[in-house]
């Protein structure tokens, strides 16, 4: 069964450093997302991406965040200057399409980001 993959599974970085989190969505999916989940809390939407551009972003997704789909398979989230409060699990998700029956989102296993 096709699945979303994410690398690395765990990233430790120092405050102020740049990190890039990588995702490979399911190949025929058209919509891609990044979410954040601080330990034990709710899932928070960061950004959605369609047709090679950001379609929506939340208040959390400020200027230190960026996303890219550099080729036909990878989808990346970059955090330019990490802060302690960026420590969280970051999930990538993809969705087939916009039709009602295609709203289901498939999540990757997540990258645990620890900022020290």
């Amino acid at each position: 069964e096709p699945e979303v993959t994410q690398t690395p599974s765990h990233q430790v970085t120092q405050m102020g450093q740049e990190v890039i989190l990588r995702c490979v969505p399911i190949s025929n999916h058209l919509y891609f997302y990044w979410y954040r989940q601080i330990l034990g809390q709710k899932v928070e939407f960061l950004v959605s991406f369609y047709n090679n551009e950001i379609s929506e972003k939340s208040e959390i997704f400020d200027d230190q965040f960026s996303v890219e789909r550099p080729d036909g398979s990878n989808f990346t989230l970059k955090i330019r200057s990490t802060k302690l409060e960026d420590s969280a699990m970051y999930f990538c998700a993809s969705r087939l399409g916009r039709r009602t029956e295609a709203y289901e989102q498939y999540f990757g296993p997540g990258t645990r980001l620890t900022v020290t």
Partner: protein, 112 residues
Amino acid sequence: GQQVMQIPQYQHVQEGEDFTTYCNSSTTLSNIQWYKQRPGGHPVFLIQLVKSGEVKKQKRLTFQFGEAKKNSSLHITATQTTDVGTYFCAGPMQNSNYQLIWGAGTKLIIKP
């Protein structure tokens, strides 16, 4: 702003007892989705409800969408250890095609 509230935050049950989680939206939703997250895992899609008053069943799980499309529930009959995890509801943000607003989740804990 738009909110999705989910209660309870935790539910401790004996194995074999039933479990219910409730989701309430501050606005009418076009659809509602339910996800399960096992401890240490990622959210996994369970179901989507679209129609007012809709009821869907998946084995021991029963999902309901309210008539006003502002509330939903998930009921698990005769819980098993494999049911352990956090159950989240999520609905589309108003005026958005892409963004989901998530409830805080209900953690199902099986008492030893």
